[in-house]
């Protein structure tokens, strides 16, 4: 008998249809992965099972949990089930824990709320599960507060809470999106181990197809609130039928071909750069300590070259970007663009800045919501001595919008009228409009859905051909860096530990950190092309 059986589940919020006739089955010991683009209804499906939908939701159809109809259960019965029979792990470990309660209390609460055992036993059990998820109480006492743990450790606490009573069903909604690849790999190992060990059924939500392929026994692909295709993993990977599924997989291993670039003219020279952040004072009179975010970094970027920079979150990538842009002073070393320092005196050298532009990660945060597109894309004109005006300005805007695949008519719109992918195109238009010699991409595609990401990568490759771009592409996503750069640098804790030709580094990493990074990154199993079958 199946553990969870969702039949024809439809859900609407305030009359807006969110889910349409979703069907899904999970057997004990089985991992079912739900995947699909952002907004496709993955989280809503999970919340419906928990009956924790937002206010104003109405659900029809049937959700059978262990033979019980969840949609008909009274709230108090649902409370008995949550935590005891169904555990859930959420995406954001930073906010999923109550900041003012100790981790011990929070894990014990799951046990105590269901009166599963007396307090002392519960405490013992809490230690046990925390140890099981890799937080041995000797090193991580129960009295710690969430803010005293790293993101990965917090996620372990959330998992411990979810499995404390050995629920029969575990739901994990993007449990690793906020974590590093290496941490992500550890968490997945942990979850897989637990599911096997306890014989739990698991509903796993992720948009990362590589993860899906690696972990799940069964895959369901969602789009616009519908399950478009569902099949056992192996079967789906080899014989996917729905065009959307195909598109999704194709996009996630999308490769682009960069035009050749052969120049050996150095453009950007970074030599021995050090950037320290002052730590908060530890005592009133002591000198404040220093945190070294960039540690003696040196490299050269040649004209027409596409350089990648990879590394875990917090290793100093963005700090280096800001230093190159001359937004912040450096404590040692120097950065020259075209032979000119980017930072002179105590302010940025705007004459040099004119030759650089940047594209940021967050397509939603990088535009002033109150300005129209024409004003947004022309903001870098401020750097020019004689910014174009009138029809010349209009032409430039039109040219740029066309170049990034938008229409010149879009120039009168506000940013909220665009999708995430379109916004990123506008960001690229903004970077290109003053024809900079160098563009910095700081995680420019990380926030995008795979299909959109593929389009943006294509766009970049096209632009390389038309505008002969030179760029520094920063990302934690190895597969992207691999396809979009000629050369790559690997950064760890502020240092460049390895650099070389991209293919070379990826196929034959020299530094153990690079090796670990590549090993931890989930990969889609190599598939035979469909038509070759």
């Amino acid at each position: 008998m199946s553990l969870l059986q969702i039949k024809d589940l439809s859900l609407s919020i305030h009359g807006i249809e969110i889910l349409r006739r979703v069907n899904l089955t999970i057997a004990p010991g089985e991992i079912v992965a739900v995947t699909g683009e952002s907004g496709s209804g993955k989280s809503m499906t999970a919340l419906a099972v928990m009956q924790l939908m937002p206010n104003g939701s109405t659900a029809t159809g049937s959700i059978l949990l262990d033979g019980e109809e969840v949609l008909d259960l009274p709230e108090d019965r649902m409370c008995q089930l949550r935590g005891a029979s169904v555990g859930m792990v959420f995406q954001e470990p930073m906010t999923a824990l109550n900041p003012v309660k100790t981790i011990g209390d929070q894990v014990m609460e799951t046990i105590l709320i269901h009166r599963a055992m007396p307090r002392d036993k519960a405490e013992e059990r809490a230690r046990e599960v925390l140890a099981r998820v890799g937080l041995p109480p000797e090193r991580y006492p129960l009295g710690r507060y969430p803010h005293e743990l790293s993101g990965g450790q917090r996620q372990r606490v959330v998992i411990a809470m979810a499995i404390a009573l050995r629920p029969r069903l575990l739901i994990a909604d993007e449990p690793t999106t906020a974590l590093d690849v290496t941490t992500q790999a550890q968490i997945f190992d942990l979850i897989k181990g637990l599911v096997r060990e306890y014989g739990m059924g698991m509903l796993m939500i992720t948009h990362d197809l590589a993860v899906v392929a690696d972990m799940a026994d069964h895959i369901a692909v969602m789009r616009h609130g519908e399950v478009v295709e569902t099949a056992p993993t192996r079967q789906l990977l080899t014989g996917m039928t729905h065009p959307y599924t195909k598109m999704l997989f194709a996009a996630s291993e999308h490769q682009v071909t960069l035009p050749e670039s052969g120049s050996q003219v150095p453009l950007l020279a970074v030599a021995n750069v050090v950037r320290d952040y002052p730590l908060p004072r530890t005592s009133l009179f002591a000198r404040p300590g220093q945190h070294r975010a960039v540690d003696h970094v040196s490299f050269t970027l040649h004209q027409g070259e596409r350089l990648g920079l990879v590394g875990e979150s917090g290793c100093g990538k963005s700090t280096l970007t800001r230093a190159i842009l001359g937004l912040q002073p450096v404590q040692a070393g120097h950065i020259l663009l075209d032979g000119q320092p980017v930072y002179t005196g105590n302010k940025a050298n705007l004459a040099v800045r004119r030759k650089m532009q940047v594209v940021f990660q967050d397509p939603y945060g990088s535009f002033n919501p109150r300005h129209r597109v024409d004003r947004l894309v022309t903001e870098p004109f401020h750097l020019l001595e004689h910014p174009p005006v009138g029809s010349e300005r209009r032409d430039r805007i039109a040219e740029m919008l066309t170049a990034v695949g938008l229409s010149p008519d879009d120039s009168g719109k506000y940013i909220h009228e665009f999708s995430g992918g379109q916004r990123q195109r506008i960001a690229i238009a903004r970077a290109l409009i003053i024809r900079p010699q160098l563009i910095l991409f700081d995680e420019a595609v990380s926030a995008l859905d795979v299909s959109v990401r593929a389009q943006i990568l294509d766009l970049l490759a096209d632009l390389c051909a038309t505008y002969d771009l030179t760029y520094l592409f920063i990302s934690h996503d190895l597969s992207v860096v691999r396809t979009i750069t000629d050369r790559v640098m690997v950064m760890q804790a502020g240092r460049i530990v390895e650099q070389g030709e991209t293919e070379q580094v990826f196929s034959d990493p020299q530094h153990p950190y690079t090796e670990a990074l590549i090993a931890a990154a989930p990969k889609l199993p190599h598939r035979r092309p469909m038509n070759a079958r």
């Binding site: 940021f360 945060g365 990088s366 002033n368 919501p369 401020h382 903004r430």
Partner: protein
């Protein structure tokens, strides 16, 4: 638009209309004494009755609205015109001595019991509307400085600010071009609330005799004048009291409504 916003805007505009109308028309001359006709309860000739000097209460309430609005509005103006630039500057130079100075200055103003200082200020420079405005205005400065700084700080973390910096724009220009328009909503909402607090403060100061001086009518002073007479002429206290309550209520409702209406998070969810 929410019910709150409509109700609040309705009440507030009623008061503002009454105030504006009073410039061109009041049923009677608000300053004309008619002692034989004193202490009339509301009737057909005098809709709100007459006061202890036989003045028409309705006319006084209308002109009193003008006083309240003028004092509160100017006090908010002082608070905004000084507080907002200070807040913007503090946020732009976060962590610097300037920021520290501004924030400590704010704390200092907050540390003073406002009414005592208002009384002191008026004791030093004399009672009157102008000094009431200054006294109330001073305490508005840190409110706006703080709220502006808070909102501006989170904006400075946003990538579009980084983009503007990359475009070579300086802190002042970014503050004016990007930060200010994006905190404007917040300031409008807070401004409405401070406005209503200003009305209350003006009433309080006038009540203790430190607001606008006679013969300019003021709701607070009408209440003070009425105090000994409530037991036999309750309308003298009830009418100005209700005027204050309704105005403050209207502004608060409008502030709440505006907050909901202007909050993009809520607006997006609604559309």
């Amino acid at each position: 638009m929410s019910r709150n916003l409509i109700l609040g805007a309705g009440l507030s505009s009623l008061v503002v209309l009454a105030a504006l109308l009073s410039f061109v028309w009041t049923p009677y001359d608000y300053a004309a004494l008619n002692i034989p006709a004193k202490l009339q309860t509301p009737n057909a000739q005098h809709w709100f009755g007459t006061d202890h000097f036989g003045r028409d209460m309705f006319s006084m309430i209308m002109v009193g609205a003008r006083t309240s609005i003028a004092v509160a509005l100017l006090a908010v103006g002082i608070g905004m015109s000084l507080g907002v630039p200070l807040g913007l500057a503090a946020a732009a130079r976060k962590g610097s001595w300037l920021d520290e100075l501004i924030m400590r200055g704010n704390d200092l103003v907050f540390a003073f019991p406002s009414l005592v200082i208002a009384i002191l200020i008026t004791a030093v420079f004399g009672a009157g509307a102008v000094n009431a405005i200054i006294a109330i205005g001073i305490f508005n400065i840190p409110v706006f400085a703080r709220i502006t700084r808070g909102a501006a700080l989170s904006l400075w973390e946003r990538e579009f600010i980084m983009a503007a910096r990359v475009a070579g724009k300086g802190a002042a220009r970014i503050s004016a071009e990007h930060i200010l328009p994006n905190v404007a909503n917040l300031l409008i909402v807070q401004g409405t609330i401070q406005f209503s607090l200003g009305i209350l403060a003006e009433a309080g100061l006038s009540y203790v005799g430190l607001g606008a001086q006679p013969p300019t009518p003021s709701w607070g002073r009408m209440l003070a004048d009425a105090q000994t007479m409530v037991s036999f002429a309750p309308h003298l206290a009830l009418i100005p009291g209700f005027a204050i309550i309704l105005t403050v209520l209207g502004l608060n409702l409008m502030g709440d409504g505006l907050r909901d209406w202007l909050d993009p998070r809520i607006r997006v969810a609604r559309s």
